[in-house]
Amino acid sequence: MSDFDKELDTSGLNCPLPVLKARKALSEMATGEKLHLIVTDAGANQDIPAFSKMTGNPLIETSEIEGKLHFIIEKGSE
């Protein structure tokens, strides 16, 4: 897992809360900073890449550790 500036654990929360909370967290971060997002909602495998693509916040890394999905998302320029 690469370095990150902020961690957001949405374990137990279901669609669309992980996306909504990720959006809020990223809005409070500076361009280039990295968010470590932890999700248990299985739909996130498709939803987080879609969110990243549509909002211009690049998805740097995706992994699955002990049944949880871990994403590193970089805050893009507005």
């Binding site: 279901n14 669609c15 669309p16 996306v19 909504l20 990720a22 879609a50 549509m54 909002t55």
Partner: protein, 155 residues
């Protein structure tokens, strides 16, 4: 880049009917969309300050029940209450946001909530019962926005 636009007509006032419009609207805003929801007929119930939404198995053979309940039994008072209680408990257990939570996010993030004036008058709804910050409009108001929208849904 111009923001994408999502136009929704919310016509249902049940607990299950409340999820799609608020869930899609709040997510769309998070994805950078401009969103307007036009509430008409029973969908107007979703604008009440105090939401008292219910779900009924009656006339809904697809609703999963713990035990099969024949339609004739579903008219018994209290069964709707039970089905609603069960659904709310399940939503909570599965970490799904409440309708109130999703609606709050919509309001805070600038989703335009529009009450259909004709149905407000038709059912004698009192606008004082509605949440703050909504506007009203008619068919042309919806179509003006929907005409330029990238996604348009009737729910």
């Amino acid at each position: 880049m111009m923001a994408k636009k999502l136009a929704i007509i919310a016509s249902k006032g049940t607990l299950d009917g409340a999820y799609p419009p608020f869930l899609l609207a709040s997510t769309a805003v998070a994805l950078g969309f401009e969103v307007k929801i036009f509430f008409t007929f029973y969908g107007l119930q979703l604008l009440n300050k105090n939401l008292n939404l219910k779900v009924s198995p009656l006339g809904n053979p697809a609703m999963p029940m713990p035990v099969p309940v024949p339609s004739i039994v579903q008219v018994i008072p209290g069964l709707e209450w039970f089905a609603t209680w069960m659904m709310k408990r399940k939503l909570k257990q599965k970490g799904v946001a409440s309708v109130e939570e999703l609606r709050d996010i919509c309001v805070e993030s600038g989703v335009d909530l529009i009450a259909c004036q004709m149905t407000v008058d038709l059912f004698d709804f009192d606008e004082k019962d509605f949440i703050e910050g909504i506007s009203s409009g008619g068919a042309a108001t919806y179509l003006e926005f929907a005409g330029d929208a990238d996604v348009s849904l009737y729910i």
